[in-house]
């Protein structure tokens, strides 16, 4: 399952979505997620799903790559669906609705990661929220944290896989036994994982300090610039949200 983590992985492609300004993509994902939570009917959920499908097609990211990102949360989705069916009146409808919403949120956030480099996301966050500097919010530091987090998700996933392989070769079997046994077994993966992550974080901090992090007001090699494509994308984003709100008001 660790092998299926797609969050934080960039999929190199020359597409309309890839070339958009990261601020446009961040705004688009925020509006999509807002739209998903506003949607209370299956029709508006399907409308959102069609919009996301169009974006996936425009991004030219293979669908199997997007679906792969769903595998790690498949168990979570199944549990939520079963609980809804058992405990909630009209449960089947609720289960479908909630599952669709979760899948849509994951698709939207995955699409952002797969089509945007972590540094671009960080630039987008930093530039988009630069007004918060006046409120003494450390926007640059927060953007760097976001960038590092996205960069290190696949690296830590890879590290976890290596540790798991090492422990498996020493007799660990995570597939056998009950919940308690599996939880106990996972400790032998989690503890080395923590130790390794802390060591990495410490070394990264030293490397960043020695490369003058915090020296002064930083510049960017590629300053962000809006294009006409971004204007068109903003029109689509606002139209999407308007349609979802109208569906909600019209009880569609």
């Amino acid at each position: 399952m660790i092998r299926d983590v797609t969050l934080g992985r960039y999929y190199r492609q020359d597409s309309f979505v890839h070339t958009l300004d990261p601020r446009t993509k961040l705004c688009g994902v925020a509006f999509l997620i807002a739209g998903i939570f506003i949607s209370s009917s299956v029709i508006s959920c399907i409308f959102t799903m069609l919009c996301i499908a169009a974006l996936v097609w425009l991004s030219r990211v293979p669908l199997r790559y997007m679906v792969k990102g769903l595998l790690p949360i498949f168990v979570f989705l199944a549990v939520v669906a079963v609980l809804n069916i058992i405990l909630v009146p009209n449960g089947v409808f609720r289960a479908i609705l909630i599952s669709l919403r979760v899948v849509e949120v994951i698709f939207a956030s995955n699409l952002l990661c797969l089509s945007t480099r972590p540094r671009e996301i960080s630039n987008g966050v930093e530039t988009g929220f630069s007004w918060m500097r006046h409120l003494k919010v450390p926007v640059h530091d927060l953007a760097t944290i976001v960038s590092i987090a996205f960069t290190f998700i696949p690296i830590l996933a890879e590290e976890a896989r290596r540790i798991l392989d090492a422990q498996t070769s020493r007799g660990l079997d995570m597939r056998k036994g009950g919940l308690v046994k599996k939880t106990k077994a996972s400790v032998s993966v989690i503890i080395p994982m923590f130790v390794s992550a802390i060591e990495r974080a410490e070394n990264l901090a030293v490397a960043m300090e020695s490369r003058l992090y915090g020296c002064g007001e930083p510049t960017r090699l590629h300053p962000l610039k809006y294009s006409y494509d971004d204007a068109a994308a903003y029109v689509c984003i606002f139209t999407y949200l308007l349609v979802v709100i109208l569906m909600k008001v019209g009880r569609l």
Binding site: R119, T151, S210, C215, T219, L221
Partner: protein, 266 residues
């Protein structure tokens, strides 16, 4: 005046003495190799020279700036850049050029300057073809070159490598050592390299041997004779691992030099 000076430097971690009474003077343009076994204090010394940590006793100065002077910290780090052991833990960018740009962006340089400096250092390190590649997809040697390029981009006067070559195979290791010697010779770049590999010391201007946090020998490779028993035996075991025949007698009687020359001869 020496570029880097350590005077009576000691450092302790949680009460454990990592370095004690270190005196060191590194001139501009020198190629210095700090040798020592695991736990001898090499990494601590490298971090002290980059003002990442401060000595508990004594003082370190880089280009006339004391590391204890907070106002000079960035000048020191710009003058003497530090490359760590594992490149995977120090690569920050999503592309090679982004990673090199990290320090330059922090310095607040104009994008066009950043771009031209990147072009220069990529050429110096032979990574021009990888400019837009994902650093995670590079080979181990290329990753190490990228880390070196990130430091060279700051246009400092010294580069400190903390066992930066220890994870590389012999071919990549030689490639990087050759690059460092070329930069040292042609650009006058001061190189301070910590290592466990005695072979690295053969072409150095100055060899400093650390053992148990103390300088036990320093000088030109041919002058370094006084080696403690513990380090001499570790040198011997390293040589034996590489199938170089060295008798206990040779190592314990004449120390590192004989071990080195024996190895060189083979």
């Amino acid at each position: 005046m020496a570029l880097i000076e350590a005077r009576g430097v000691s450092y302790s971690y949680n009460g454990k003495q990592a370095l004690s009474g270190i005196d060191l003077s590194i001139g501009s343009g020198q190629f210095v190799v700090v040798l020592g076994p695991n736990g001898s204090g090499k990494s601590t010394l490298a971090r002290l020279l980059n003002a990442i940590i401060l000595p508990t006793q004594g003082e370190v100065s880089v280009d006339g700036h004391l590391t204890s002077d907070k106002a000079s910290v960035f000048d020191i780090r710009k003058t003497a850049g530090l490359v760590l052991q594992n490149p995977d833990n120090q690569i920050i960018g999503d592309t090679v050029e982004d990673d090199i740009a990290f320090a330059l962006e922090n310095m607040g340089l104009h994008p066009s300057w950043i771009d031209s400096i990147i072009t220069d250092v990529l050429e110096q390190t032979g990574l021009t073809a990888q400019r837009f590649s994902n650093p995670r997809e590079l080979s181990g040697g290329q990753k190490e070159l990228l880390c070196i390029a990130g430091i060279l981009a700051m246009k400092g006067r010294c580069i400190i490598l903390d066992e930066a070559l220890s994870m590389l195979d012999r071919e990549n290791r030689n490639l990087i050592v050759d690059l460092l010697h070329r930069l040292n010779r042609e650009n006058g770049l001061t190189v301070v390299m910590t290592s466990q590999d005695t072979e690295d010391a053969l072409d150095a201007d100055l060899v400093v041997v650390l053992d148990d946090g103390k300088v036990v020998a320093s000088g030109k490779p041919e002058d370094v004779r006084i080696v403690p028993e513990s380090f001499a035996s570790s040198v011997a075991s390293m040589l034996r691992e590489r199938n170089v025949a060295v008798s206990e007698e040779v190592v314990s009687e004449d120390g590192l030099l004989k071990a080195l020359s024996k190895k060189g001869a083979v």
